[in-house]
Amino acid sequence: MSLENKQQQPPAGLNYDETKLTLGLPGSGSKRGFSETVDISFGSSSSSSSGAGVECCGQYSVVDGGDKTHKAPAAKAQLVGWPPVRVSRKNLMKSCKYVKVAVDGAPYLRKVDLEMYNSYQQLLGALEDMFSFLTIRNYLNESKLMDPANGVEYVPTYEDRDDDWMLVGDVPWKMFVETCKRLRLMKSSEAIGLAPRTPPQCTSTH
């Protein structure tokens, strides 16, 4: 099997990184984000690539994923009533990806909809809300979940499509959402030898 290097000019707006050949998990292809195909002017920063200078005076609602850090407007801006599909279709299409969340020591599991979040940071925040005994502690540039009452640290792990248990945070967020089947917050003490010394960037949003 030879790796072919296709020297094609990608359509405007396509991020080369997304088409780079990497050893990825099955089913995780490169995907163009909708934000990368959006060319409309939001009236402030980005200018449209057309020359016609059409000004869009429509209504916009920027879907705020609840992230405390400021996000670039291109992330999930949505026009009201666009694309023109009936509500019944939109409801059907709204992807929802509920996965079970187990926390070592907790008597029952919970479920989260991964599609509700845009980043690992947001997910941790949701887990913090859901399991009240947990708090996010930020050490330098890394976030951890811990139980302040007894100092127990939890390492977030997930089961992927190959039934392997992986450390949360290694892959880009979207790829994670695609491949994650369930989550487990593992006690740090059990994760001896697995927890990395230099933890992954849990705040990555791409």
Partner: protein, 572 residues
């Protein structure tokens, strides 16, 4: 001046069925008007506020079938507040008071209450057919009343309504004596269904031809129902998740084989892996296939399915079919007349999707195509020009590029030439929806060539008032114009106010028209209702004439300002 007695003329009029023709006939002379009005049984009201129920009943006392439309089209996309209007209640009350022998009621975008449905069910002993499309405001309790009281009910067709589901009980309200059902569609219901009641109902309805189930109906019930109704012509499955190695699967497959009359298939709201081969036996006879609510059917399974649908005339699918999949459609479905490709995940990272390539392939392979709705990632002028050449018979052409101002993906130019080619080649085009980067030029083409155009939808297009003017001047048969987010203002709006009397309605939102412009229009044209929809909390709306109007909807009417406007609607 009649050469024949009235009874003979009436006989002749019986073969005049289209409303358009009947309207024309009624204008010939007083005598024909009178004969026509007494013999008219079917009435179509495209805008429920254009006329009052009392006047309709007065003119057509023999009314048996009424079609009513309420909210403007953009209400489908959440651009119109729910309580804007389109209430059924006053119509039902008037029809009941007038002792009209109503047999059929077809509603679109109306607000229907349980009270209205209850009144309907009790007031018309010959009532046979209820079709509700994109309506809201009622619950399954209203359906229970219909089921219980309409003894001769043949058709209950619920399409894409927003129904408050009180769970399952309504189906049991069909009395044991009810055996007249021909068509039952409850696919849009979200709640549980009384499954044994459904089986019994189907069992005692020998004339049942159309059955569309909702998600709550599992495969084993589907099998039982199909076993009792092998004569079905139109089937919509509910859940299709089952174990291909199970007994249920084998039973279902065996039952499906016997349903030789099924021509129309839809549903598959949930699908399990490897379940679809059970449906293969009926695919070769299908003329209509709707998988647009079936995101679980994709990839090679979808392709394999399509390959067997050689007689397909109508296909509704999701864009996860991809350009390659459309290529398979093009080579398989030579009889295709109508294609709709819906977006499968409008806002997420693009999985499979379709582009201009898929459309070109379809146009090359399916010469009979006349109706298109196509949501795609990108388009090019070259592709549209090719499509126009391949398919000059388009009646409906609706293109929606998901990025609304995207230019030609190859040349980066506006898509004016492409759409221009479509309207020039397709002399019979009646409905057109535009998208992508478009200048005034496209409207010049539309005004010049689209002589039969009746409905035009515009979004994020044009440069100046000229665009709108080209359309208003050129399209003599224009009935409905809806525009959003385009730079058309008062000059275009006010240039030819008489035009709006020849049209059913005009919608403009997020354009450049001002309050002053709308006021001027309303003043000049008393036969129009000019409505301003203002949802913001500002109470001072209405003071500043220079202010741009967010949403304006105007329509011709014979009965003046309506009296049921909610707070946020202001008729000028």
């Amino acid at each position: 001046m009649n050469y024949f007695p009235d009874e003979v003329i009436e006989q002749i009029f019986e073969s005049v069925t289209s409303q358009k023709d009947r309207n024309a006939v009624s204008l010939v002379c007083k005598s024909w008007y009178k004969i026509e009005r007494f013999s008219r049984e079917r009435v179509f009201i495209g805008n429920c506020y254009a006329i009052s129920p009392e006047r309709v009943i007065e003119r057509f006392p023999g009314l048996k079938s009424l079609t009513l439309k309420g909210k403007p089209h953009f209400a489908d996309f959440n651009l119109v507040p729910h309580e804007w209007g389109g209430f059924l209640q006053p119509w039902i009350e008037a029809l009941a008071d007038g002792r009209v022998g109503l047999e059929e009621l077809r509603l679109k975008r109306m607000i229907v209450s349980d009270e209205s449905l209850e009144l309907l069910s009790r007031s018309f002993p010959n009532f046979k057919s209820l079709v509700l499309v994109s309506c809201e405001g009622f619950t399954t309790d209203g359906l229970a009343a219909i089921a219980a009281n309409c003894r001769l009910l043949k058709e209950l067709d619920l399409q894409e309504n927003d129904i408050d589901d009180h769970r399952g009980h309504w189906l049991s309200c069909f009395p044991e004596s009810s055996t007249s059902l021909v068509s039952l569609n409850f696919a849009c219901l979200k709640g549980e269904i009384n499954l044994p009641a459904l089986e019994r109902l189907v069992g005692r309805s020998p004339n049942l031809k159309v059955l569309r189930l909702n998600r709550a109906v599992p495969p084993d019930t589907l099998q039982k129902v199909l076993a009792r109704a092998p004569q079905l012509v139109d089937l919509g499955t509910g859940s299709y998740v089952l174990d291909p190695d199970s007994d249920t699967y084998n039973k279902l497959q065996a039952t499906v084989v016997k349903c030789k009359s099924i021509k129309s298939l839809s549903g598959f709201l949930e699908v399990g892996p490897r379940c679809l081969p059970s449906i293969y036996p009926i695919l070769e006879n299908l003329t209509s296939l709707n998988l647009s609510y079936a995101p679980g059917v994709h990839g090679s399974e979808l392709i394999e399915l399509i390959r067997q649908c050689v007689k397909l005339q109508r296909l509704w699918i999701l864009d996860c079919i991809g350009d390659k999949g459309l290529g398979v459609v093009a080579s398989t479905c030579k009889e295709l007349q109508e294609l709709r490709v819906f977006p499968s995940d409008p806002f997420a990272a693009g999985h499979a999707f379709v582009t201009e390539e898929g459309l070109v392939a379809i146009s090359a392979g399916c010469p009979k195509l006349h109706s298109l709705l196509y949501f795609c990632q990108q388009m090019t002028n070259a592709a549209l020009i090719t499509v126009a050449k391949n398919c000059p018979n388009f009646i409906r052409f609706r293109l929606c590029i998901l990025d609304p101002t995207k230019p030609d993906a190859v040349t980066m130019r506006p898509l004016d030439e492409g759409f221009g080619a479509i309207v020039q080649a397709c002399k019979n085009i009646r409905r057109l929806s535009l998208s992508g980067l478009l200048t005034d030029r496209v409207f010049l083409y539309i005004g010049m060539y689209a002589e039969q155009l009746e409905m035009l939808s515009i979004a994020f297009a044009g440069d100046s008032d000229n665009g709108m003017l080209y359309v208003l001047n050129g399209c003599k048969k224009l009935r409905k114009l809806e525009i959003r987010d385009s730079p058309f203002g008062n000059e275009a709006l006010l240039k030819d106010v008489g035009k709006y009397e020849t049209m059913r309605s005009l919608w403009m939102s997020s354009c450049e028209v001002t309050l002053g412009g709308c006021k001027a229009l309303a003043k000049q044209m008393p036969t129009l209702n000019v409505e301003i929809i203002n949802e913001s909390d500002q109470v001072e709306i209405g003071v500043d004439d220079e202010q741009r109007v967010e949403k304006m909807y105007l329509y011709r009417t014979l009965v003046g300002k309506r009296r049921d406007t909610p707070e946020f609607v202001w008729t000028l």
